[in-house]
């Protein structure tokens, strides 16, 4: 664990939630303080089979832990307790949720479903609204466990937002998505009392979409994901995302195949806030392509710009 330094005292930024927990404030302030000069390492866990193996790979390969552990609330068992343990060990959790398309249940296949009437999602009394609320209630229970343990969470609840892309939340118009986003944030904060979240929007491969951006009053972070090959540190993607979110909002690369090399990112080519390698892509030839090698991982983790779990300050 690094030295103390994550305190929000003297910090000029605050989460969008006026009742945010102290740890959420500390985390956001820390992220703002390193944005542009450091990049946080991250790894998504293989929630459905062997989540520990993804992190163990880094320990055996570079002798360090990623700063960020990525989880998915599609898979409830152990996700919260692993996040809590990672925080206790000095790390940060970033969650997503492959939520099934209301009124369908939560399965990965159902996350690619379609909501028959998108506008009814936020209309009280409708079946899809009841279903959506039920899913958010479940999420709130899990997040509250973390809140009670003083654990903040970077939540990319609706990720990979593209125009009519894979997941149901992308299958509406821009204004419909913004309505859904604001409803979700308000429901979680005001109705469910969840205050340990940094609300993070994640665009998808097609690039950031200004008409799907709910604006800074509803966002703590705004990022994107990608699986480009051979073009790291993904300058065009970073530049395009920045053009939508603006120059002050930190931009995470919340899902990637290849790790962008910090030596190529700074000072200003593509200074991502963090990278998060998708589950198994760190050490398998997914899609028949070698996304990372032990050498490229070692190089990235040895770079002075890279923040590992061991180098994080005390944010508690």
């Amino acid at each position: 664990m690094g030295s103390s330094g994550g305190s929000s005292s003297g910090c000029n930024t605050a989460p969008i939630d006026p009742s945010a927990t102290q740890q959420a404030k500390n985390l956001l302030c820390y992220l703002y303080s390193v944005y542009g000069s450091k990049v946080l390492s991250g790894q998504q866990e293989t929630s459905w089979s062997n989540p520990q193996a993804d992190i163990d790979y880094y320990v055996s390969t570079v002798g360090k832990h990623p700063a960020i552990l990525g989880g998915d609330y599609l898979y409830p068992n152990g996700t919260t307790s692993r996040a809590q343990a990672y925080w206790a060990a000095g790390g940060i959790s970033m969650m997503r949720y492959h939520m099934g398309a209301p009124p369908l249940s939560d399965t990965y296949d159902n996350s690619k479903g379609t909501v028959a009437n998108f506008d009814e999602l936020t209309k009280p009394g409708t079946a899809v609204n009841s279903s959506l609320n039920s899913k958010l209630d479940y999420l709130a229970v899990e997040l509250e466990k973390l809140q009670d343990a003083n654990v903040p969470v970077i939540l990319v609840i609706y990720h990979e937002v593209d125009k009519y892309a894979w997941f149901w939340w992308s299958k509406g118009t821009g204004p419909q998505f913004i309505t859904l986003w604001k409803y979700t944030v308000d429901y979680m904060i005001k109705t469910k009392g969840i205050h340990n979240v940094l609300w993070t929007l994640g665009f998808g491969h097609d690039g950031a979409l200004s008409d799907y951006n709910p604006g800074k009053s509803y966002l703590d972070l705004g990022g994107i994901d990608q699986y480009d090959k051979g073009s790291q540190p993904f300058v065009n993607l970073y530049t395009g995302t920045k053009s939508v979110f603006g120059s002050t909002l930190p931009i995470p690369l919340h899902e990637t195949g290849t790790i962008p090399q910090p030596k190529d990112m700074f000072p200003d080519k593509a200074p991502w806030l963090l990278w998060n390698v998708w589950a198994t892509y760190q050490n398998t030839d997914a899609e028949g392509y070698t996304w990372n090698t032990p050498d490229t991982i070692k190089t990235a983790y040895a770079d002075s710009h890279t923040v590992t779990r061991e180098a994080l300050p005390n944010l508690k």
Binding site: T46, S47, W48, S49, Y73, L74, Y75, P76, N77, G78, T79, T80, S81, H98, G100, P102, P103, L104, S105, D106, T107, Y108, D109, N110, K112, T114, S130, S131, S134, K135, Y138, V141, E142, K145, K163, Y164, W166, H205, Y227, D228, K229, G230, W278, A279, T280, T284, D285, A286, E287, G288, Y289
Partner: protein
């Protein structure tokens, strides 16, 4: 004698057809390696037997059966049939919002223009449409076939990531074993 001649002619015609078909399949594999977006490098055949994709392994043997079971498009093409560029324009306009129409158009176009560089994109539409129609096993079978037919295409890679990495459904999922969010099912508890 006449029957022998007819038989010989028929045999030669059949042989020529088979040769042309085999050449066509080889060509489409070559063309798929040049991505329509112009961004993808040439890569080896995807490792479908990767231990990270158990769903791919499980379905590998079922794929041919499922694909063969699909209804074949008519080989007859009307003289006024739309051009490939018009078909692609319509497919892109649809953006898979009308899955039945998308499936019909994409399959017919892939039969007519099987060697086209746009074939991988059309196969992407086919998988998306099958998923939207809730024909999930067929979609996975098509997804596996895409990995064989168009290795290195960004269209195949996108399908791989969204259909063949995460299991479509799994006992570890919150809603496993149920259809609807609010129906009674296995308790969805966390830790």
């Amino acid at each position: 004698m006449r029957r022998q001649i007819l038989g010989t002619v028929a045999f030669l015609a059949l042989t020529a057809t088979l040769l042309l078909e085999l050449r066509g399949r080889a060509d489409v594999r070559k063309s798929a390696r040049v991505d329509p977006k112009g961004a993808a490098p040439i890569d080896p055949v995807p490792a479908l037997a990767s231990p990270t994709t158990p769903v791919a392994l499980r379905l590998l043997n079922e794929a041919p059966k499922l694909i063969e079971a699909r209804p074949a498009a008519s080989p007859l093409v009307a003289p006024s049939a739309p051009s490939e560029s018009n078909l692609m324009a319509e497919l892109r306009d649809l953006r898979a919002t009308e899955p039945t129409r998308t499936l019909e158009l994409a399959r017919a176009a892939n039969q007519r223009f099987s060697r086209s560089p746009d074939a991988p994109e059309r196969s992407w539409y086919i998988v998306r449409a099958l998923l939207d129609l809730d024909r999930r096993d067929e979609a996975r079978a098509e997804a596996l076939q895409m990995q064989r037919d168009y290795p290195g295409s960004t269209w195949s890679e996108d399908i791989y990531r969204h259909v063949l990495v995460n299991p479509g459904t799994h006992p570890a999922e919150r809603g496993y074993g149920t259809t609807y969010e609010l129906e009674r099912g296995p308790a969805a508890t966390g830790n």
